[in-house]
């Protein structure tokens, strides 16, 4: 095939280019946005990424499947548990291992707790992006309680490394159920504060309603998944569509909105916290007794072939695609990380909004930079 590549010129001459990031309070890490401004109006946003690129996909090609777990923790560090689960599910699917209910249910509870703590941090940092700094501390205060639950059971706070191919690293701690119930009770009693401080606040509503609209067609075309996609009416919850672990036995609503603006992306996450608590409610008393792991071979070799697994992280759809050549390490391992795909839409939805809106929109897409760069 012949090569037809045209050169691209970014930014017209009369526009005012500013760099937001890589060190900037509201890019939540080392994301760099080259923004062309006309006065305060954003004309073009070019994301420059790769400041924290570690080559996880390349590294995975030289390590074994159980070892991959500790790298997935470090991709989207706020959905560490779900990322682990994704790899484990892929490996188990390839080996056709039957996973007992106990493992499935514990995995689901852990995943939902992870989702809650991720959304709590979203709420916290989103408030701070918009200038309300108190939100940050209230969000973190409540998140600490989940991290404590994680620490008691897994030994890690964010980087849990809890799932492993064939089950879990450790059994749940004896206090686990009690503490989770305490947390759910506590969190239900403080969730109204989140609404009082931010959701209902007139300044917040003015700042977010109608800002950064993403239509359903664009959401699908850009592949925006997770709460951001569902705020545009894109039914993309993998937990509903291709239930894995114990999601087929719980009842929950897929939080969907039609508007697709910044406010509804925010609201989708707040509502998801409530749904996650419902899921945990249904499961926490029904953890069956049994083994917490399935005995696997000491060296895991996947049969030759291609394996694709989709899971729903706190930010959207994470796909793990393993091409195996029968060895103990994968021939090619691809992570379709939700943040990476969601970043692609930023330029499209920030056009002709103000620079303050750019921060609000970027915040509402809830980027985790290590997940973008991998």
């Amino acid at each position: 095939m012949e090569e037809i590549i045209k050169e691209v010129v970014i930014g017209e001459q009369e526009e005012y280019l500013i760099n937001i990031g890589p060190q900037h309070p509201s890019t939540h890490g080392v994301l760099r946005l080259v923004v062309s401004l006309k006065g305060e109006i954003v004309k073009n946003v070019q994301p420059h990424i790769g400041y924290i690129h570690r080559g996880i996909e390349k590294m995975c090609e030289s390590i074994t499947y159980p070892q991959i777990i500790h790298l997935t923790d470090r991709m989207d560090y706020l959905s560490a548990c779900i990322n682990n689960e994704a790899v484990c599910l892929t490996v188990e699917k390839a080996l056709e291992v039957e996973i007992p209910d106990r493992i499935k249910i514990i995995r689901t509870i852990m995943a939902e707790l992870t989702r809650i703590q991720s959304h709590q941090l979203f709420w916290a940092s989103y408030g701070m992006d918009l200038g309300g700094q108190t939100c940050y501390f209230y969000g973190l205060r409540d998140r600490e309680k989940i991290l404590d639950i994680f620490e008691e059971t897994t030994g890690g706070r964010m980087i849990v490394s809890y799932n492993c191919p064939g089950g879990l690293m450790y059994d749940i701690h004896p206090n686990f159920q009690k503490r989770v119930k305490e947390f759910i009770k506590y969190f239900r009693s403080v969730l109204w504060e989140y609404d009082a401080i931010l959701t209902g606040n007139v300044i917040f509503r003015e700042r977010t309603i109608g800002i950064g609209k993403l239509s359903l067609v664009d959401a699908i075309s850009y592949g925006i998944t997770g709460p951001s996609g569902r705020a545009s009416g894109f039914s993309c919850d993998i937990r509903k569509q291709e239930p894995y672990s114990a999601y087929d036995r719980v009842k929950f609503n897929e939080v969907m909105f039609k508007e697709g603006d910044t406010y509804h992306r925010y609201l989708a996450r707040i509502e998801e916290m409530r749904e996650s608590m419902n899921i945990i409610d249904q499961l926490i008393d029904n953890i069956p007794e049994g083994q917490y792991f399935v005995k696997m071979k000491p060296v895991i070799r996947l049969p030759e072939g291609e394996y694709f697994q989709r899971v729903e992280t706190a930010r959207g759809e994470l796909d793990v695609f393993i091409i195996s050549d029968g060895n103990k390490n994968p021939y090619r391992l691809k992570f379709r990380s939700p943040n990476f795909v969601n970043l692609g839409v930023l330029n499209h939805i920030t056009k002709d909004f103000k620079i303050a809106d750019l921060i609000a929109i970027a915040g509402s897409l809830d980027f985790v930079i290590p997940d973008i760069d991998r």
Binding site: M1, E2, E3, I4, I5, V8, I49, G50, H53, G55, E57, K58, S62, D218, I220, S221, Y222, G223, I224, F234, S235, C236, Q241, G305, E306, Y307, F308, R310, E317, D319, F321, I323, Y331, R332, K334, R336, F340, V341, L343, G344, V345, H348, D373
Partner: protein, 151 residues
């Protein structure tokens, strides 16, 4: 449509395509020149309506490169896998699908960045993670003496 129906449908669109029944999804392998037209047809025909590009993966097969497209229809909830290979290793070029799925822009830039596969008609094909002085790290013959320590 289920897996076999999808296979037959693709066969009717492109008789040259190799349709295999994978474990999870229907897998279709097409020539690099055919890919764009097939993808466009799959996207636009009312029976298939593959409007969601789930995942785009570049693979180094040794003598050439492959790109694997996971497509999904939000209307019919069915999935298909498209596979294609570049014709050579020295100057790997494929046609971009950015005009069909806007989300492909970042995926293709990533593949270009890590594997060096160029995409024709891509609106903004630049390196994504790495700067231009780097090689293409996901190629199997990539050597980095400093950062990769093999035991």
């Amino acid at each position: 449509m289920d897996k076999t129906q999808l296979g037959e449908f693709v066969k009717s669109l492109k008789p040259d395509a190799i349709v295999t029944d994978g474990k999870q999804y229907t897998e279709v392998t097409v020539a690099d020149t055919e890919l764009h037209s097939l993808a466009k047809k799959l996207r636009e025909s009312e029976e298939t309506w593959f409007d969601f590009l789930v995942c785009l993966t570049g693979v180094d097969y040794g003598k050439d490169f492959g790109v694997i497209y996971h497509l999904k229809s939000t209307r019919y909830e069915h999935m298909i896998v498209l596979k294609t290979r570049t014709s050579e290793r020295e100057k790997p070029v494929l046609n971009s699908v950015c005009d069909i799925w806007k989300g492909a822009e970042f995926h293709e830039r990533e593949v270009y960045d890590l594997l060096g596969v160029k995409f024709n008609h891509h609106p903004d094909l630049r390196r994504l993670f790495l700067d231009s002085s780097w090689g293409f790290p996901l190629r199997k013959d990539y050597v980095d003496d400093i950062n990769i320590v093999s035991k």
